[in-house]
Symmetry: D3
Subunit: 288 residues, 6 copies
Amino acid sequence: MADHPAPPPCKYLNLTYPLPFVAHVEINRPEKMNAFKQEMWQEFPPLFSHLSTSPSTRAIILSGAGPKAFTAGLDVQEASQDSPLSPNPSHSALDGARTATTLRRHIDAFQACITSIEKCEKPIVAAIHGWCLGLGIDISVCCDVRICAKDTRFSVKEVDIGLAADIGTLSRLPKVVRSGSWVKDVCLSARLFGAEEAEKVGFVSWVGSIGGKEEVVKEALRWAELVAGKSPVAVQGTKEILNWSWNRSVEDGLRYTGVWNSAMLQSEDTKEAMMSGISKKKPKFAKL
Amino acid sequence: MADHPAPPPCKYLNLTYPLPFVAHVEINRPEKMNAFKQEMWQEFPPLFSHLSTSPSTRAIILSGAGPKAFTAGLDVQEASQDSPLSPNPSHSALDGARTATTLRRHIDAFQACITSIEKCEKPIVAAIHGWCLGLGIDISVCCDVRICAKDTRFSVKEVDIGLAADIGTLSRLPKVVRSGSWVKDVCLSARLFGAEEAEKVGFVSWVGSIGGKEEVVKEALRWAELVAGKSPVAVQGTKEILNWSWNRSVEDGLRYTGVWNSAMLQSEDTKEAMMSGISKKKPKFAKL
Amino acid sequence: MADHPAPPPCKYLNLTYPLPFVAHVEINRPEKMNAFKQEMWQEFPPLFSHLSTSPSTRAIILSGAGPKAFTAGLDVQEASQDSPLSPNPSHSALDGARTATTLRRHIDAFQACITSIEKCEKPIVAAIHGWCLGLGIDISVCCDVRICAKDTRFSVKEVDIGLAADIGTLSRLPKVVRSGSWVKDVCLSARLFGAEEAEKVGFVSWVGSIGGKEEVVKEALRWAELVAGKSPVAVQGTKEILNWSWNRSVEDGLRYTGVWNSAMLQSEDTKEAMMSGISKKKPKFAKL
Amino acid sequence: MADHPAPPPCKYLNLTYPLPFVAHVEINRPEKMNAFKQEMWQEFPPLFSHLSTSPSTRAIILSGAGPKAFTAGLDVQEASQDSPLSPNPSHSALDGARTATTLRRHIDAFQACITSIEKCEKPIVAAIHGWCLGLGIDISVCCDVRICAKDTRFSVKEVDIGLAADIGTLSRLPKVVRSGSWVKDVCLSARLFGAEEAEKVGFVSWVGSIGGKEEVVKEALRWAELVAGKSPVAVQGTKEILNWSWNRSVEDGLRYTGVWNSAMLQSEDTKEAMMSGISKKKPKFAKL
Amino acid sequence: MADHPAPPPCKYLNLTYPLPFVAHVEINRPEKMNAFKQEMWQEFPPLFSHLSTSPSTRAIILSGAGPKAFTAGLDVQEASQDSPLSPNPSHSALDGARTATTLRRHIDAFQACITSIEKCEKPIVAAIHGWCLGLGIDISVCCDVRICAKDTRFSVKEVDIGLAADIGTLSRLPKVVRSGSWVKDVCLSARLFGAEEAEKVGFVSWVGSIGGKEEVVKEALRWAELVAGKSPVAVQGTKEILNWSWNRSVEDGLRYTGVWNSAMLQSEDTKEAMMSGISKKKPKFAKL
Amino acid sequence: MADHPAPPPCKYLNLTYPLPFVAHVEINRPEKMNAFKQEMWQEFPPLFSHLSTSPSTRAIILSGAGPKAFTAGLDVQEASQDSPLSPNPSHSALDGARTATTLRRHIDAFQACITSIEKCEKPIVAAIHGWCLGLGIDISVCCDVRICAKDTRFSVKEVDIGLAADIGTLSRLPKVVRSGSWVKDVCLSARLFGAEEAEKVGFVSWVGSIGGKEEVVKEALRWAELVAGKSPVAVQGTKEILNWSWNRSVEDGLRYTGVWNSAMLQSEDTKEAMMSGISKKKPKFAKL
């Protein structure tokens, strides 16, 4: 894929292109079960901003390196030493209001890093296996589609370390799973739940049958290839309109759709798609 | 039903009254699997506006004529010849902004036709069988209840013809099925899904056990008869309040409910309903 | 629990503390299947306001006394004799506008009583068994988590007495159950549904396996004990942020979370939780 | 202007084109001070829908015929004889709920007629003189710009006939005049206010200096001619974006603007406008 | 006015009825320039809840006792000794999160007391004179109409005591005054502004010409008498619809209006108002 | 001010500290009347992000260098050569949908640069003189307070170059000036308006009396010094709460205020402010 604009250098997010137009981002700190420290999550914005407009990217897979975990969440050890959560002599001089300001700015910045995944214009499928704890939930709810291996174990873990999840789970989970009772249960109790339960409540839309990471990544590749073969104008427009409409009124959704498509229907893709349908050939779409 | 105000004449939407107070609307172009051309969707507003206030109508069934399909969606052949999507010499003289204006006005008008189903004050059950593609999804999500035959095959088909669905599916589907992962999957991939899957995610609330159209229409009739036998003040108020509250805050929903019912509790229906309960007779309610 | 502020006296809501920090509220009029009259629902605001700030309460169970019902709903007999719904000679002198004002004020006050459950800062699990009709649905959707016995029978009963449910079901049910088709079905038809169906659509998140009230109350106790053992700062913050975010935009949810946690991360609980994790001891958290 | 699509026939709304691209709509029942009866307000939707897409219309003036009034409001005499407000023997058989339904449908239809003015895509200036009472306020707040003669007398008159203004004044006035104290004052007291006061609070943006209708219509013509001479893509986009943004968040406004202009910047008008600026010639823009 | 339900006893809010249907509430602690301590603001909810439904009250005047002030705001001396703001030994044992919880509950309760003024169903005119500082602004923006004496001096005083105004000014002031620049100026700088400036920006809608309290109370009486003479169905409906519509979309405002008036047009007041207009008699309306 | 974190290097935005805690940002391209090219507006985000958290900055003045203009707006000449608006051979190969995508991404990025001003946590006063056209309006409505010299001339200029203003004016102007008629007038007509008119409608809150830049900058300094002398916890909280509440419901504003202040009241500033008030000394507040 020689014509890619060069992606930003990343140490912990590994980018490959296993198939044309299909990017694979791997969270890559397997020796710590992909637990996150600050420099890791700060790699999301430049990478996903790049993918968002890269014409060679039409679908994205997000997975965790190594056999054990999508991610074990926040690296609590690290966080307790070098973060606003750590006991800090210089903080102790601050009054409660000033400490709060420091904390709020830290949370804002952290949230913005994870939100950069959600803002990517291209569809993202999270291929989840092993442990998916705490921050792993925050990250996966920013993806469009979630699928998981049979042996995945999830937990909205934050209450177990004495805090309310603040990087997005509590704002986004109720919008993608609407069993209110289940959402409240898992968020308040921090209990583990498995793949089968995750599928039953709609948190994931596919579960592997044999277990293990390979199977779920293979399914993610299949899905990404399917989507990457379609008109990028149609696919990216569909993602955008779904995201816009999600929590707005039907009226607002319809109007935005009309304005969006007033430009997007001026593409060549509709003709190409219809022609290909008739001629039974694979359509080829211009870059976007 | 001699006291019906005369319904508007329709060529493609067939209206009958199989039971007292139960209207049955059939999409009627079976030779084309009920595929839609412009004059067909333009029949929705006058018909559903009529049904909305017709005192002889208390529940509505919407189904597709013929054994093959609820509807195969947009008649693409027709659309490619005679619509804003067709290559039109007179359009080529317009700049991008003016073409966009023409397209937007066309989409607005198309959306308004389908929205007229949603605005009907009476409950509507969609009885779906066979193919339900593209526009079929847009239409069915405007209904209150969706049930389907065992062999129904659904697809949010639009990305396969190079465009984002713009007649309502993307705005309404996330509000009636709240597995975010599943909604994104089927909208981005345009893949087919069957009755069982539709029921599992909550898109439909009943699936036939033997397959075929007769069974689902029979169930729709049973449901419609049940609802038509209840107080129209109660039923229509319930629909209105649910629709209003759906995407508003609980506070706004509660307040609207209070104001609505401050008038609606001044009906005779509560007394009639309670009396009938005691005397074990079927209640009779005045028209609405 | 000697250090409780004294709870308000209640005649129909029975308060006990079966476990430390776990309050059990029982709707207590078993001879009438816990059917509600006005003085019963007026007990909710003082009691749940008390529990909301009581430092000795960290989780709440709500159930119905007696073997037959969570609650059979509104005591219609009572309501028909002594309420704005009853034929009242002094009302007959009022015009329609003035009658509406009387009714609206009555509904406002009734709604406010039930909403007081939702406003409680502590998590509430509804342990439901037997009949759960009408007002029982209004009440249970104000709770955070709903679990039920195998033999529970539910109904959004109101249309059967000639009115649209106006105490909260129609505003809250679409927010906690993810199938639009199912919500419309049960609200418009008032049909009964059982525990299995309630779980399938996500209305409840756990169903007993043997039937009977004891099993569901036992499970509620287990859940409440689990939650009561965690940091109250974390648990109550999680409930608050989930409630705030539920129907707001993700952006608004994230911002509120950041501001909330800028104060809440200044607790000792995080340290206590982490220490306990390391030392494998049960953490002890200060009151809240 | 031979290329106009033919406007719908109107009896009470008089349409002329005093200048190229400038439409003048006159409320035309001067013998009754332009007081409104039902067939008059029913003429708004077809006429303003026509003007909204008529390529020969770029700015619209709305005024009242005759020297005495913009409009004296609802023709109360007519309304008391032939409307849902009139004592109607056939109504007396209805219970309070059914009467309310009839009234609500009537108000909905009435509101929709007046809202059709607001929905027109072209800018509208209301040129107001003489009496502007009740419905006159409802109508004028649907226009973009309001100017008035020196001797205009306004009143939100409805409370004086025993009802709350229900055709739009109470929803729209607080959005165009943001002295809350003044809005509440004039709506609750129904007192008269003059041109000077209307300008001071921002209800109108220009007041004539000599009094009389001619002056205000002349100023409206001047304004309309100015606006009609500019790019219709720019002018109509400006109106649309202002209307969309008015009561939405800044974020939603910015996003909608970006999507709107992604199509609209593909016009030839920018080049034409810039060239004309350089060459000091009057620009000529294609139709829209 | 013998038929008043007895108002709740108040020590600092003095209630009189200077005219039929016109209530006058006086903030009554003139020896401290009506500065507020906790027991004073706790008198608002029971009193305004009483007035809200009292059939003998149709308009309310709110003013300050004594010649010097509407109110000098929070009694800071008192607050520094006996409130969550005061240095409290028992607080010092709490961590930052628990202190925040105590403070938030205190602010919630304080806000609810002042909001009770806004929730009153009857129109309220604030007659302001002398000093109107801090809490005086919070209170006056909850009233419908604000008028003031020539020598009134206002200040959004809170930043001068080191805090952001938290009892409502910052949420309500931008909704009642139309200049964003001015609102930010006075809130950020805490500077004094006088009656003339308050009128210019629309904060008040009438200013006395001679100065002194008598004149402004007299004008308030005149206004209240005028409003109290009109149909209470019309007046209270107008207030309700304005409040609802204020920050909602026009569509939501119109719909609510239609539902509200579907009940309210079933009053006798319209006929009474029209008859009186014809017969030139003062109309008499039934209680509400 | 040796303890400043080093500000980012800027070529066109000149940063000085004329007074302690008071930053002065000057748009600095006087030879082109401060007209903007892309590299200029790209300097806003790093600079205002720096100022937002710089503890040595408590108030900010924004003005234009040179005697002639705040800014003449977009440098149209530059834009016509090197921007998405310029005729670009490489663009001509793109279809309408792909051109729209390029344009939308450009507008998004441009908007984000200007929005960075609004997001700054510190109060900003725009000191405007001379020409303030097009982008000058977009920029000034992102500031908190606007003041201007007597001879300032403003115009929402965009329609004159054939486009709807898309960098924020149309979304923000209706929120800071609420004469709807005036806003529509100046946006649709692009006419010039002067200082006096700007003050009358509330767009600016102060106008110089003698004309010229010096006077308005001097007034800005006076205002900034006043605000910079107050508690930064109070000032920045006031700005934050005003911004949050501006277009949200009163309920949402009140709740956010309570949560915000639950942390912010834990500052030392309240005590310091009160002590200083008593001792008549200038208070000293810790950094923020």
